[in-house]
């Protein structure tokens, strides 16, 4: 049994990792390029998070989180409720700005742009970093207008162009056949799974680079959940996906990378980050192992 308190870098079983990490310029806080997982993954960091801390009023929700999100990969964030995973996601597209009591410190760079730059146009940032919520939130509009509203907001006004984009993204999420005859009917009449796919389509319509997903399947029935999961699988390589999930099996099925969050000193922190396979099969940290095995959390 290896020492569970050893930092990952010094773990004797990980010689290959160590060699690669030394070759990697960002080795101080990343785990290096992808080894397992789907071949489309490009081991280039698109988002670099350094020392991210987050407070709600006086309460600390996230403590000093640093990690890289790799382009084209699916990164799963796992851990028990209330350990700051959702807060972490919201910081990435600065949705935390919406919460008055929320203060964020640290650095996030997205394609070498400082996300916290006060001169940055957040509307553009959020167009590039889309987000899907746990509960599907179709707007109280028609299916078509749900997708058109953000497109118009970002300057697409020609109806032919809009129609084409609507059809394309609905096709991408596998909804086109189901709704093509009722594009003008209320989106809120769709089933839960269809609503969630519509929300994904709505985000994809803006051609984002990154898609943040906050437990996108947990409010859905098992069948819809499967459909949405397949959809997420199909986004691999085309988009960078960061997904928060409580479903360990799901994380294991779809993710290339996984990060494990836990509440430490009353604040959420990142305990371990690594390739999905490594996190699930050879966790380096005691807590990760306990959580994966189901003895904690």
């Amino acid at each position: 049994m290896k020492s569970l308190f050893n930092p990952i870098n010094h773990s004797p079983q990980n010689d290959i990792d160590r060699v690669e990490r030394i070759a990697e310029p960002n080795s101080a806080y990343t785990l290096g390029p992808l080894e397992s997982g789907s071949p489309c993954c490009d081991p280039e960091p698109i988002l670099s998070i350094k020392n991210l801390s987050l407070h709600y009023a006086e309460k600390m929700a996230l403590d000093n989180v640093s990690l890289d999100i790799y382009q084209g990969c699916i990164t799963a964030l796992i851990g028990p409720s209330g350990c700051g995973k959702t807060s972490f996601l919201s910081a990435l597209n600065r949705l935390t700005d919406m919460i008055a009591s929320c203060r964020v410190s640290g650095e996030i760079s997205f394609n070498n742009i400082n996300v916290f730059d006060s001169a940055l146009n957040v509307q553009h940032l959020r167009r590039d970093i889309g987000m899907i919520f746990q509960k599907p939130v179709p707007f109280p509009l028609s299916i078509r207008r749900n997708i058109e509203l953000p497109l118009r907001e970002h300057g697409m006004h020609r109806q032919t162009e809009l129609d084409e984009r609507v059809k394309q993204v609905l096709n991408d999420v596998g909804l086109w056949q189901e709704v093509k005859h009722r594009l003008n009917s209320p989106a809120q009449a769709l089933s839960g799974g269809q609503q969630q796919r519509l929300c994904i389509a709505r985000a994809l319509a803006l051609k984002p680079k990154i898609l943040l997903m906050d437990e996108p399947c947990s409010a859905l029935d098992p069948i819809s959940s499967g459909v949405v999961e397949d959809l997420i699988q199909s986004l691999r390589g085309l988009y960078t996906v960061v997904i928060v999930t409580h479903n360990l099996a799901q994380a294991r099925r779809i993710a290339n990378y996984a990060g494990f969050f836990w509440v430490k000193d009353r604040a959420g922190s990142l305990i371990e980050f690594g390739k999905c396979q490594q996190i699930f099969e050879a966790p380096q940290h005691e807590l990760t192992a306990a959580y994966i095995n189901g003895s904690r959390g």
Binding site: A100, H124, R127, K135, F139, L141, R145, E153
Partner: protein
Amino acid sequence: MLKNKLATLLIYLVAVLITVTFICILADIIIHGFSQISWGYLTESPSDAGRAGGIAPIIVSTALIVFLAIIIAAPLGLATAILLTEFAQQKTIFAGFVERCLDVLASVPSIVFGLFGNAFFSLYLGLGFSILSGGLTLACMVLPILIRTAVEGLRATPDDYRFSAAALGITRTTALVHLLLPTAMPAIVAGLILGIGRAMAETAALIFTSGYVDRMPDSVFDSGRSLSIHIYDLSMNVAGGDSKAHAAALVLIVMLLIINAISMGLAKHWQKNRIISNEIII
């Protein structure tokens, strides 16, 4: 156990007492007023200080005063409500100040509004005794109601819309216009209707702002007598005016009932067709 039974009995008695009293009031006005109401009463001008003739100019003046009050107060109220709900989650000093001012405004007695309207609109701004002065005074009076209902309506809209819209890079303005305001519309309209009812019922604030003149107004700069002032004048200052006052009171109550019914009907309609009505608005 005896105490429990006694209390039950007393509470039922109170409810019956209240119901009976109010039915008496309504019946009194309906019975005495109904015999006076005719088509002529609604379409003719009053004569002999209101003892004879009808109330046509008075209905017109009332409608004008209420219309002006709402038209002036609604945009201001909506804007303030939006500021307080959508752009002041952080309890800014300014928002706190505005809220405090609204609390005070809501508690200003109507006769004090009358004094203020007389001093400010009628004399200082030189509008004199006019429908416009009265409308402006009532606008100040109904503002707190409009703002409170609109704030409640906006607060009741799901935060999910705000976050989802923001996550799509939609500006707050667009989210407001296309998502939040349509969703809050039933509450906003209910507030408007409540405000109309309050404005129509008001008397004290109008006596020294819109005046007593019972002729048909030529413009909003003319003095005009509201229905409530007409009732007051007939019963207090005109000997033998009681029967016509009953009729005027009945007309006023029926108008208020109609407004009430409209608001209830709208609320039901919106509950049923919320999504479709949003489509129409957009």
